[in-house]
Amino acid sequence: MGREISLMRPIIELNNLTKYYGKARGIENVNISVQAGEIFGFIGPNGAGKTTTIRTMLGLIFPTSGSAKLFGLDCLKHGSAIRRRIGYLPSEVFYYDQMKVLDLLKYSASFFHKDCSVRIHELAEIMELNVQRKIEDLSYGNKKKVGIVQGLLHEPELLLLDEPTSGLDPLMQKKFFDLMVAENKKGVTIFFSSHILSEVQHLCTRVAVMKEGTVIKIEDIDTLRQDNYKRVAVKIKSAAIEQFAMAGLTNMSRDNQTIRFLWKGNANALIAELARNDIDDVVIEDPSLEEIFLHYYQPVGP
């Protein structure tokens, strides 16, 4: 019943959240609202402020101004109650090296006052994790698996994942994504930070783009891909690049007889433009998020 009620309101509400480390900017006026059941992507280059935002939500660091509410509760006043319902996977995982994996997972479970032993073994089996080994003997990828299991073992309602796939091989990444989809189907909300756009593209329904501490765009993944750019490749016998110089056309390049560019605008105008030329072949397709957001990632010029 509790979960049905929580579906009625945002799970995450960040209002003008700002964090400065002394004079150094962490994040500035971050406003994000994530609904229950969403898989929300949080992308941006290194140093954009993704980790700072997540660590502020967890109460690990204190905001300079603004507020963060999770499940309708203020992160500063109700930190413990909030964290009881959260699973967190940091981007860099560090655990008590002298412990066995199973002991660490049991210690982690002890904070939630519930029997998680069945779930621990289920998750360890999915992630192919040997729980009898010592933490110090594990590779980084295996430590990351420990992180995934400890983040999920108490069956949280919200997952905060900070670049969760770094260190995992492609097979494990796929298993991890399958696990996330399964958790999401059970009603778990997922807040997924990454600088790898393709994985956000596969998993998330909405995405916020961070750059230099601020959110510069929040959009549905589908909207972004459908309403924005198309990637066009035109094979043409003899044409100068200048022939295609028209509004809405960017990133143009020529490779022998093929001209490639990104197109944003009315599709009819593009077709009309192409029809004016003697074309051998044409490919029009959706660009990757990487291409769409590339310009966001460029540093601000002087």
Binding site: L60, I86, Y107
Partner: protein, 268 residues
């Protein structure tokens, strides 16, 4: 409770070494006493050849003669205090900073536990370890006196009075370390500062014995809980104990306040 047990287990691997070291220190030094006491006149003559300042610096040449069991024990106990100080300061520097130094803080503080509970339970685990060391020093003292205290009857109350100062002495150094870590962004190493604090405050007390006055002594718990004074007087100095207590309370209040507002350091 899970944090308390977990933390105490982490202390256990090295705790018994600290306890045995303090006990061995007391027993080994006191083992020399019967030989020296057998020829007390020669010992006094031997010490007369050393400069008075040097003897004072090492806590000798006071009201208690080294030829007496109490006098020799005061000298022995002062050295054991150095070990106790190093251990207590080490725990003080270590118990909260370890999570940030070893980058496990994100794991611990992202769990559903309030920060003041983490501090309280980690504090309790460290105090339990210090308490067991305290038991060791009581056992070491009574064994040393029983085995090597000589034939002359020993008045036990001054020794009990001295041993009762140990918890406050330990807390002074522990609190110093706690406050230092709370006030510092990140402590890179722990043993160096801990031993440094133990020695510097010892040297302050030694310097005070040479130059006289009380200003330097007020800064040093070795002077607040001076074995020579307590074994002679059979009681503590209320004023100096009050200064220690004030420092312990103030340091702990400040350290807790700083830790409650602290941004947890991370590797990223």
């Amino acid at each position: 409770m899970n944090i308390l047990l977990f933390e105490f287990k982490r202390y256990w691997s090295s705790l018994w070494i600290w306890i045995l070291s303090v006990m061995a220190q007391l027993l080994m030094f006191m083992a020399f006493y019967p030989v020296l006491a057998a020829d007390a006149a020669l010992l006094d003559l031997f010490l007369e050849h050393y400069p008075e300042e040097l003897l004072k610096a090492f806590g000798m040449g006071g009201e208690l003669s080294l030829a007496t069991a109490a006098g020799f024990f005061a000298f022995t106990f002062a050295l054991a205090q150095l070990t106790l100080a190093a251990q207590s300061a080490y725990y003080g520097f270590h118990f909260m900073s370890v999570e940030e130094r070893e980058l496990t803080a994100d794991f611990l503080y992202s769990k559903p536990v309030e920060r003041h509970h983490v501090i309280a339970l980690k504090y309790a685990a460290a105090l339990l370890a210090l308490l067991l060391t305290n038991v060791g020093i009581w056992a070491g003292t009574f064994l040393a006196l029983a085995w090597f205290g000589g034939e002359a009857p020993i008045e036990i109350w001054p020794f009990v009075s001295l041993l009762l100062t140990v918890p406050l002495f330990q807390l002074f150094f522990f609190s110093f370390g706690f406050l230092a870590t709370a006030a510092t962004k990140k402590i890179a190493s722990v043993m160096g500062p801990a031993v440094g604090v133990a020695f510097v405050l010892y040297m302050l007390s030694a310097l005070r014995r040479i130059v006289g006055g009380e200003l330097l002594g007020i800064l040093s718990p070795y002077y607040h809980f001076d074995p020579n004074y307590i074994l002679v007087a059979g009681e503590w100095s209320l004023r100096l104990t009050g200064i220690s207590l004030f420092f312990i309370i103030a340091a702990n209040v400040m350290a807790v306040r700083l830790f409650l507002k602290r941004d947890i350091y991370s590797a990223v």
